[in-house]
Symmetry: C2
Subunit: 410 residues, 2 copies
């Protein structure tokens, strides 16, 4: 049953290299629906739901009026529309926000709502979709996942993860070259993002595909033992001088305490999540104390989520596709769903796009399964590498301007 | 006057993305001299002068027997031969080392010595060249510069700098996208390598070419005032929420004390240089205290010197060229010289390769000149950007294998 009207799209949560590719996919999908006479205008909300509440809307068909602008958008990191960290409260607590939002939807004749984000954004989609079911204003709410953490439930992987993983894998390989030049014993500890799930840290193992593995990898899925860590390093130092370690920012000891806890002055984020930092620095001090050799910690930091110049073509292509598929799903009547990837059970990697009920997704975390982590808890298995490998394939090759990748700013 | 015999090449000092490109240039140059019947074999010393002292030599003509291996070498970061931090003492202090080295030169019939490195390596070339002039074993000693710091005297710029600058410029541009997505006031401080000279930090200004400049840039060439820094940030916060700062690891206060001094447990390096870290962290704490907004520091760290995947084609091309030119210079009789770039005084960027007497280079530091820094000492002038801009042009486009750049390991 066709639903005629306008659409709105927003981006929320932390930046990734692919969140704009998904936006481009939504624009491409909506343009096609415009040609079919179903969608009139696609609005972009500035800074997610925050901008929508203050009616800061832009006309995306007007802004992205050429193919070149869309492809440049696909190679631009972070959220071109701006982002926010706002999580809608329940209607029983903040009825005003819902009344205001649905008043805007009616006034702008908005029937389609697309929200690109992580856990918190899916929660927003769920709440709006539930609230809307009681109203006489028919709407369709679709969540499109994005997170470099790859920890959303119900999907094989998340848009944005493959590009972050390609950056981590490439950088680990380059750092391995760098730290291997000297003959003196040295330990280099690379801290990778990932609060609760170790997917991105696990991707540090990918250079193993060309025989270039870092020596030790520790994920938050296993409790971290400082004693075993020092033993592991000493064991490797028997055979080679340079030891390279990848460690998740979120590793915790056997009592569940973050290893990096208390080492940094940074406060909690707007949701009360602890803004972690410092696992690498803590381990650096530990190695210095217990082993006494040269040691350095490297925090990969923001480039993990915004290094579009080394984006995975697989990731960017899939991110565009899933944005377009979100529009198609809405057109045929889906609402209250999150778009997902399902990996085909075939020798060659391929995915198909599906939808999952958003209920139950928003507060779940998908962790790295046991069979992807070795027994000792200090490395990734072949099965883990096989899962990760296809996600980083292909290079985006952005357009360079003055020696730097071209971006689009709206 | 032709000098027949073998040659040896080594790499020394900290890794760069271009030091292997220069090695490739030396191999290419020596192969050509081999065809002419002048150079018999090109030995590579493992770990620089250290490996030479223990006769750890490899046959580079044998290893690099295809064009594909040479081009892969040119796209591989860090020192493929291994590196060292050893600085030869004066012959009056360590006569043994010199006797040992010249014994090896005679036994291997080595007449040509090429050393790719920074200040300390040039000092080694100088000492060997001076020592050799007293002997009845004619040799030619050529230094080929490399450093991401761009601070060697007598050359317009150094091989390796352009690639590091391209990484810094690209990453600053991507971080600018990343930090601009939220509407809440936030300060992001990016710490860039460079102990005494601010060249690499200055390259953070290059995104200005597409209207994307970071807001504030502080180099070690000017004394750093914490009060002015806070004033600068407050001034920018009047017009926009996200402030992006680039700061050199080597900034010092008006008394010459490193801002980052004392904040890190890392010791001095093998030469007694202080291994700096922490200027970014110190400023992060300062902003938190004086302004109280969200603040984050990012240390670009090792990827600055090994991110070959975003190497500058100009840099890599020039690095190959200068390696080949070193061989040619030696063949026609140069010794005790460092290879240099001279920039042509023409509207289009072009360089020619020359040589400079190594005496006086080894202990000099070439700093960013006054006219490249703005009056307030918090930004780069148009003249500075004009100097830097051509050095980052062009993309190397390495061969990708399993989604990561292919490297060669010897």
């Amino acid at each position: 049953m066709l639903l005629y009207g306008n659409a709105v799209v927003g981006q929320s949560g932390g930046p990734t290299a692919a969140i704009n590719a998904t936006l481009s996919g939504v624009i491409r999908g909506a343009l096609s629906a415009k040609d079919d006479g179903i969608i009139g205008t696609l609005f972009g909300m500035r800074n997610g739901i925050e901008g929508l509440l203050s009616e800061e809307l832009v006309d995306l068909f007007h802004i992205f009026d050429t193919e070149e602008k869309l492809t440049t958008l696909e190679a631009t990191p972070a959220a071109a529309l701006g982002s926010c960290r706002k999580r809608l409260k329940a209607p029983s607590i903040d009825a005003d926000a819902y009344e205001k939002l649905f008043d805007i939807f009616r006034r702008y004749n908005i029937r389609y709502f697309f929200y690109i984000g992580g856990n918190d954004s899916m929660d927003t989609v769920l709440k709006l979709s539930e609230y809307s079911s009681e109203l006489d204003w028919e709407m369709r709410f679709i969540g499109v996942p994005k997170t470099i953490d790859n920890d959303l439930a119900a999907t094989d992987h998340t848009p944005g993860f493959g590009s972050a993983a390609k950056f981590v894998a490439t950088t680990m390989k380059e750092i391995l070259r760098d730290v291997s030049v000297y003959k003196i014993p040295a330990v280099t500890i690379v801290e990778v993002m990932g609060r609760d799930a170790g997917w991105l840290t696990a991707s540090a193992a990918l250079p193993a595909l060309s025989g270039d593995a870092p020596d030790l990898i520790y994920l938050p899925e296993r409790s971290f033992s400082p004693e075993e860590f020092i033993e592991d390093i000493k064991e490797i130092q028997k055979t080679k001088p340079a030891v390279l370690v990848a460690v998740s920012e979120g590793i915790r000891d056997e009592n569940g305490r973050y290893v990096g806890e208390g080492t940094d002055s940074r406060a909690v984020d707007a949701f009360g999540h602890k803004a972690l930092s410092g696992a690498g620095r803590v381990l650096e001090a530990l190695v210095k104390e217990k082993i006494g050799c040269k040691v350095r910690s490297v925090e990969l930091n923001l480039p993990q989520r915004c290094a579009s110049h080394i984006a995975s073509l697989t990731d960017i292509g899939e991110s565009v596709m899933i944005g377009g598929a979100a529009v198609k799903a809405a057109l045929v009547g889906s609402t209250g769903v999150m778009m997902t990837f399902e990996r085909e059970n075939s020798p060659e990697y391929s995915v198909r796009i599906a939808t999952a009920d958003i209920n139950g997704i928003a507060n779940e975390i998908r962790r790295v399964p046991e069979e992807y982590i070795n027994d000792r808890g200090n490395g990734i298995t072949e099965a883990g590498i096989a899962y990760l490998a296809p996600l980083i394939l292909g290079e985006l090759s952005p357009i360079y301007e003055n020696g730097m990748p071209r971006h689009i700013v709206i």
